[in-house]
């Protein structure tokens, strides 16, 4: 993990410092290699990577326009339609590919938002303690005392479904876990000598918080982020399943599962494809998170 860069430029020239810097870079590289060698990281990260590529290239890979009505509804899989057609006669395979876009966009944006809200608040609460700590942590408790999806439903249900609101809601609701994780680690790290050293040489608070403490609390944040991405995929799919998320005709895995319920007896495969897609992506994020935790954060190992 990185240590603060020197505040006084002369230090950088000293041989001791140069050696320390080299050691640090080596340590980081070793850690990075250990992450990449982890089986779970390879498996989970691999699936995520493939999904990202598929989502980015959807318009090139997909054999048909996902929203185009091609005639025959509920066709079984065939060479012309790899996974058959849906109830409107649209190509199921193409819709599945485009569905990856929705899942990934919602989850990535909302978790990024959650991190942007949660990390600074967690740092502030853990570093300053006192009233700041009380206010931030109690506010986090209030949000946490709510089942995520219920809050999301309440907000989206009232605002009306839209992509922006969906991202906003998931982002805000998922900020408290980030606050908690960063807060806990900050409480521990602020007692460490390197933080006191930074304070002693007169570094500004913002510098200490974001350049000294933050890099050392990033490991649990990464783990939390990966698990959060899985949860965000679940929430988006769940809301779309209820008709409160992504709106037709845009292809979304959750909505595709919901539609398939009307045709369970006639074409059960329509249930299977989107189910596999959404489960696999969530599984990948969770496996990635577990793997990252094994390597980066042995204290939390489950």
């Amino acid at each position: 993990m990185s240590k603060p860069s020197p505040v006084q430029p002369t230090q950088a020239d000293s041989p001791e410092h140069g050696q320390a810097r080299i050691n640090e870079l080596e340590a980081r590289e070793v850690l990075w290699r250990r992450v990449l060698r982890n089986r779970r990281v390879q498996l989970g990260g691999g699936i995520v990577l493939i999904t990202v590529i598929v989502a980015l290239l959807a318009s090139h890979i997909a054999p048909y326009d996902p929203n185009k009505l091609l005639g025959m509804p509920l066709l079984p899989p065939s060479p012309a339609h790899l996974l058959g057609t849906d109830d409107f006669g649209r190509d199921e395979f193409s819709r599945l590919l485009y569905g990856a876009r929705v899942s990934l966009a919602v989850s990535a944006l909302s978790i990024a938002l959650a991190a942007v809200i949660g990390i600074p608040l967690g740092l502030l609460a853990g570093y300053y303690r006192g009233a700041t700590e009380t206010i931030i942590m109690r506010a986090a408790d209030v949000v946490l005392s709510f089942p995520t999806i219920v809050l999301a439903i309440a907000v989206v249900g009232i605002l009306g479904p839209s992509f922006r609101d969906l991202v906003l809601v998931i982002g805000v609701v998922y900020a408290p876990p980030f606050i908690r994780v960063v807060y806990g680690s900050t409480l521990r790290e602020r007692q460490e000598e390197y933080v006191q050293a930074a304070q002693a040489i007169g570094a500004r608070d913002a510098y200490v918080l974001f350049r000294v403490v933050l890099p050392n609390v990033m490991a649990p944040v990464l783990v939390q982020g990966s698990l959060g991405l899985g949860l965000a995929v679940l929430i988006e799919a769940g809301l779309s399943f209820l008709g409160l998320g992504t709106q037709p005709p845009t292809a979304s895995w959750g909505a595709m599962v919901a539609v398939s319920r009307n045709f369970l007896t006639r074409q059960p495969l329509l249930l299977i494809w989107p189910s596999i897609a959404v489960s696999l992506l969530v599984l990948a994020f969770n496996t990635l998170g577990d793997g990252l935790r094994d390597v980066l954060d042995p204290r939390l190992k489950t």
């Binding site: 109690r138 408790d141 209030v142 005392s145 709510f146 089942p147 995520t148 999806i149 219920v150 439903i153 309440a154 907000v155 249900g157 009232i158 605002l159 009306g160 899985g230 679940l234 799919a237 769940g238 399943f241 209820l242 959750g254 599962v257 919901a258 398939s260 319920r261 369970l264 007896t265 059960p268 249930l271 189910s275 959404v278 489960s279 969530v282 599984l283 969770n286 496996t287 577990d290 190992k301 489950t302």
Partner: protein
């Protein structure tokens, strides 16, 4: 201990108050007029204004808030703006149905999660452990709407084993009611059972390395007896606390499970109320859910303190 409980109770009230406030603000700051939703978009403005006046919606928001808070404190949650029925009794009866699902799911997760977790912990890093680990991973990752729909497809449509979507009250036919309860509970328990299993495994692994376990083995207890008599109780603390956290997740899960199986619980009521913009009902449900979660958290902390006397009440 008494002081600790008292402090927690005060804290509980404060927390519910804040959640209630947030819920109120959230619902009222949001665009969309409930009276318009009620009367239709092209209702004459005079009529809208009149209904708003009758319902008190034309008062300043702060006045509405204080009056609402006063009513809630006296147990009056108001009436449905659409149906005219009292919110509190309806919410309570729906809450009962939802709690049935949650309790059933918790019992199932304990019955499945703890033995499987213990089995995995007995042979760590073997094939058994690995397979169970993937089972747990699947339980956590499979969305409940997928599990629910697949179960429905298999049991109700394909095999005709379980009765279809026709709710039967407990009082009418207890046996049929129980039958209806099976699939929703199993659906809900998949994720929480997996979480319990993972926590049981890691917690047991930690405990089996403890000194008192070496003593137990040294005095000649078999491994199974040592685990049963000494390790399990000591390993249960984290499991209890994670079960408490699961209640919130389960409550969230009921939204989808109730929809799939047509279960008349709190969540289906919430969805209805939201599509009708029935503010008093939404507020009542939000409060009920918040209250439930906070009470559960308190309960978990108390059980936790009971299981581990080393915890100080600070």
């Amino acid at each position: 201990m008494a002081r600790y409980v008292l402090r927690r109770l005060v804290y509980l009230i404060v927390q519910v108050f804040w959640v209630a406030t947030v819920a109120f603000v959230l619902i009222h700051l949001v665009p969309g007029n409930p009276v318009r939703a009620m009367l239709g978009q092209d209702a004459p403005a005079a009529q809208v204004a009149q209904v708003e006046h009758v319902l008190g919606l034309d008062r300043p928001i702060l006045v509405q808030y204080v009056s609402w808070l006063g009513h809630v404190a006296r147990g009056n949650f108001g009436q449905s703006e659409l149906g005219g029925w009292q919110v509190l009794p309806e919410v309570m009866s729906r809450l009962g149905n939802t709690l049935e699902l949650i309790v059933g799911a918790i019992i199932l997760s304990i019955l499945i999660g703890i033995p499987l977790g213990a089995a995995a912990a007995r042979r760590p890093n073997t094939w058994t452990d690995m397979i169970l680990g993937w089972v747990a991973m699947a339980g956590i990752s499979l969305p409940n709407f997928v599990i629910g729909t697949v179960l429905l497809l298999l049991f109700a449509v394909q095999w005709h084993v379980l009765p279809h979507l026709e709710f039967v009250a407990w009082t009418k036919n207890p046996l049929q009611h129980l039958e209806l309860l099976v699939l929703p509970c199993v659906t809900l328990a998949a994720a929480s059972g997996a979480v319990v299993m993972r926590m049981t495994r890691s917690s047991l692994l930690e405990v089996t390395r403890a000194d008192f376990m070496r003593t137990a083995r040294a005095k000649g207890l078999s491994e199974a007896a040592a685990v049963r008599r000494h390790a399990l109780k000591n390993a249960m603390n984290p499991v209890v606390s994670i079960l408490g956290l699961q209640v919130g997740a389960l409550l969230g899960g009921t939204v989808i499970v109730e929809t799939i199986y047509g279960w008349p619980g709190l969540s289906t009521l919430l969805l209805d109320a939201i599509s009708n913009r029935d503010y008093p009902v939404i507020q009542g449900i939000v409060l009920a859910i918040a209250f439930l979660t906070v009470v559960v958290n308190l309960g978990v902390d108390l059980v936790y303190a009971y299981l581990d006397p080393r915890i100080r009440y600070v």
